[in-house]
């Protein structure tokens, strides 16, 4: 914390400021510092020291407060949204923001669950680690069906940067040789359960259009840069002192620190980006120091905005000036608009009578994946929706958490629930969400959060295409489960649920035309050439695969471009 207090008024100008330390902020910091730039990374959340400060890591079950039951009184008060996440519990709680510190508003009748990280490392600390490349069709979809503006780049532009990032974040997976589901630079794949191998064989016979592959996961199966392969303790979101899953903390931050070029400043909430109309460039940022409450200014030649999708838009909309009365880099008026999230639904559940005598050892933090098989290479004749979805699959041997609901008192009940129940096959579809102008965030200037920022108001709803797609998911999941050999199928009940894939993106989209997009093909603002936005905010469409890898590849590519301009003295 050498930057406290006094630096704000010094004349030091950093080569770059990176706003945010999550998935993409970490990549930006690593890339820029390794190219010799002096970088200041600002993070709103509190410091967290890897590897020693994961308070919940390897907690024995009996040390968890309340036996792991949700602390509902506390959660209703302080964590009403965050506590809905599958990855939230008493042992991971330190990684999340407190909703009571920074509430958000929603347009009436809409329901979007906004999950946020509260530490250095952001959501990379408790992400799901599924890691997939976009396919070539994802970059052409907008141009082909006319929803959203055309992407300014194509798959070939990003492919080398996927490789570049995959090599240092570490991705385990199986190559499948599909054009629409590109292979990457993989460590050896994780093993399948016996039932998964059986399902794979059956699908090959009875549903040969379906590819069923082990999840591609940013969890190591081989050593990498001082990080150890996974030890299969199973509770990744608590943090991993062996660095076995990728996070800013395990990978990009140590690499950036090693260069000696990075200054990290936690508890530094960026309020706005400062714009100089004389030069037409951003000159720095205004920060609220969360410890002292002081308002500080930091200067830089280049700004990388990586505050996470909605916060990045919030900061731009809050950065008003005479030149940009509607928010910085927003001459187009698109900033805050075209918010997307994946059309995610737990769908049909299959129950199996196979492999009752097969079990497992080790907790594999990964499932299997069915890549998109609908509307590939043109619209399927029987599909009344555009684009497609992938399906995350988990075989689960049920235990007492599921079977305790049965009737019974005494020895028989105890004996029944201590033993494994049947195998089930759970499917969760992640579908593409079209970019809709009316899905957006705005600011409510009349209210401020603990960071002194105007509250975000969110309007996020799925449209007809997403609803039609969900119906198709239910039908296809039924076909897949039958082909896989399920003896009973519990169908999706179709109930409306909050939008909560935690894949929110859009709001500062890329595009070819400065009138209809905020960023060019290098994630560079059309309006402000030394401003780059490389987190999920930059997305022009949503694809259907888990997005973090794509954000990271964009970030590395943009950082390379920015550093080249910096070297030439153009920025």
């Amino acid at each position: 914390m050498t930057e406290m207090m006094s630096q704000a008024s010094t004349s030091k100008t950093y080569d770059a400021i990176v706003i945010g330390s999550g998935m993409t902020g970490g990549v930006a910091a690593r890339e820029l510092t390794e190219k010799g730039m002096q970088v200041l990374m600002l993070e709103r959340g509190t410091a967290l020291n890897h590897p020693g400060e994961y308070v919940g890591e390897h907690a024995p079950n009996w040390s968890i407060p309340f036996g792991g039951l949700a602390d509902y009184q506390n959660y209703k008060k302080d964590y009403p949204v965050q506590s809905k996440s599958y990855a939230f519990d008493e042992a991971t709680k330190p990684h999340w923001i407190k909703d009571s510190d920074e509430p958000y508003l929603q347009e009436e009748g809409t329901n979007f669950e906004w999950m946020r990280g509260g530490r250095v490392g952001g959501r990379s600390l408790m992400w799901g680690r599924q890691t997939y490349r976009w396919g070539p069709h994802d970059f052409t979809a907008n141009a082909e069906d006319g929803h959203g503006v055309d992407w300014p780049i194509r798959y070939e532009d990003l492919a080398p940067w996927y490789s570049h990032v995959e090599k240092y974040i570490g991705v385990s997976g199986q190559k499948e040789g599909l054009e629409s589901f590109p292979d990457g630079e993989f460590q050896k794949p994780m093993e399948m359960y016996a039932l998964e191998k059986r399902i794979k064989r059956r699908l090959a016979r009875h549903a040969s259009d379906i590819t069923y592959t082990i999840g591609r996961s940013a969890v190591l199966t081989e050593p990498l840069e001082g990080r150890s392969p996974c030890h299969y303790c199973g509770a990744c979101p608590r943090g991993c002192s062996t660095g076995s899953y990728f996070s800013t903390q395990s990978s990009t931050l140590p690499a950036a620190m090693k260069t000696g070029n990075l200054t990290l400043r936690p508890e530094s909430a960026v309020q706005k980006i400062i714009y100089d109309s004389a030069t037409g460039k951003a000159t720095g940022v205004q920060v609220k120091d969360m410890k002292s409450g002081a308002s500080l200014v930091y200067k830089a030649r280049i700004i990388f905005l990586n505050a996470s999708t909605i916060h990045s838009a919030q900061i731009l909309l809050n950065s008003k000036s005479a030149a940009f009365p509607n928010g910085l880099a927003n001459s187009s008026g698109v900033v805050g608009r075209y918010l997307m999230d994946h059309n995610e639904h737990s769908t049909n559940l299959g129950i199996f009578f196979d492999d009752i005598d097969r079990y497992f050892s080790g907790k594999r933090p990964n499932g299997c994946y069915i890549p998109r098989f609908r509307n590939i290479g043109g619209q399927d004749e029987d599909a009344d929706f555009l684009r497609g979805y992938g399906i995350q699959c988990n075989v689960v041997r049920l235990d007492h958490r599921f079977t305790m609901h049965q009737k019974g008192i005494g020895a028989d009940y105890k004996d029944a629930i201590r033993k494994p129940g049947p195998w089930v096959f759970a499917m969760s579809a992640f579908g593409e969400c079209l970019p809709y102008q009316e899905n957006k965030i705005t600011l409510d200037e009349s209210r401020r959060d603990a960071f002194d920022m105007p509250l975000v108001k969110i309007r996020m709803e799925f449209g007809e295409n997403e609803h039609q797609m969900r119906k198709d998911v239910t039908q296809q999941a039924d076909r897949i489960l039958k082909a896989a050999g399920a003896v009973a199928i519990i169908p999706d009940d179709g109930s409306e649920k909050p939008i909560s894939a935690i894949h929110e993106m859009g709001t500062v989209r890329m595009g070819k035309d400065a009138k209809t997009s905020a960023l060019n093909g290098w994630n560079q603002s059309h309006d402000v050439p030394n401003l780059f936005v490389t987190d999920g905010a930059a997305m022009t469409s949503s694809g259907n695969v888990n997005p973090s890898l794509t954000y990271m590849a964009f970030t590395a590519r943009a950082a390379d471009y920015a550093a080249k301009l910096w070297k030439k003295g153009e920025l």
């Binding site: 020291n49 890897h50 590897p51 020693g52 400060e53 308070v55 919940g56 890591e57 390897h58 907690a59 024995p60 079950n61 009996w62 040390s63 968890i64 407060p65 309340f66 036996g67 792991g68 039951l69 949700a70 602390d71 509902y72 009184q73 599958y86 093993e191 191998k197 050593p223 150890s228 392969p229 030890h231 299969y232 199973g234 509770a235 002192s241 062996t242 005598d357 097969r358 079990y359 497992f360 050892s361 080790g362 907790k363 594999r364 235990d399 007492h400 958490r401 599921f402 305790m404 609901h405 009737k407 019974g408 008192i409 005494g410 020895a411 105890k414 629930i417 201590r418 033993k419 494994p420």
Partner: protein
């Protein structure tokens, strides 16, 4: 087999566990997680929270909110649901104390009232059927009382396959749903329940998806997010 209060840890060498958990096997070599080891060695844990793995078991804390009679009733009920068989029962696993801690620290006022009403109803039914309070009934009589109560309350969705948790949905839950869930959770999350009734391996080191399972083998103790 009974393990009394204040002996948590005797069945599991906590020190060895801390060391074991702070290392991970990598290709035969043992690599220390230096940060965690240093943090555990740091006597006063200045500047950060004590890691959970170094904390005592949740039930290893004092609680004194139940009367002697209430404690006897809760103990008898928990043991009736999950009795000592060839393996430890609810009392061995300190589940009664777990329930008292939940009553003190976890339940909101409506759930406390629900819990108290359920206890009173249990004694009322024991008196009506057997002429004595629940704790004084024979084990077979106790089982009949709880079975009857479950029958009366058992058409609630909590009893559906894979039903929801009372922690997520407190609306209209019947007493028996609350009682069963918190007793089962307290039992299987305990040091005794996880290791002597279920199986527990904090640091497996590798994954094998095709091991054999005998007819009488127990599940692994659960891991969150799995």
């Amino acid at each position: 087999m009974a393990i009394g209060q204040g002996t948590a840890g005797m069945s599991f060498p906590r020190r060895d566990f801390l060391l074991a958990a702070a290392v991970t096997a990598t290709g035969g070599a043992i690599m220390y997680s230096k940060g965690l080891a240093a943090m555990l060695a740091d006597g006063d844990h200045s500047g950060h929270d004590m890691p959970m793995m170094g904390r005592p078991a949740y039930v290893d804390q004092a609680v004194e909110v139940f009367s002697t009679e209430k404690r006897a009733l809760v103990s008898a009920m928990a043991e009736t649901l999950l009795p000592q068989t060839g393996t430890p029962g609810a009392i061995d696993a300190q589940v009664p104390k777990f329930l008292e801690l939940l009553y003190d620290q976890w339940m909101a006022a409506p759930e406390k009232q629900l819990f108290d009403r359920g206890l009173a109803e249990t004694d009322r039914q024991a008196q009506a059927a057997h002429g004595k309070v629940f704790a004084d009934c024979e084990a077979a009589e106790q089982k009949v009382v709880l079975e009857k109560m479950e029958e009366e309350q058992g058409d609630h969705p909590w009893f559906n396959f894979g039903g929801t948790s009372v922690a997520d949905d407190q609306d209209d839950i019947p007493f028996m749903a609350l009682f069963k869930e918190i007793t089962v959770v307290g039992f299987f999350m305990s040091e005794v329940g996880a290791q002597q009734v279920l199986r527990y391996d904090m640091m497996p080191g590798n994954f094998d998806g095709d091991t054999s399972l005998g007819y009488d083998d127990s599940s692994w103790a659960s891991v969150p997010f799995m």
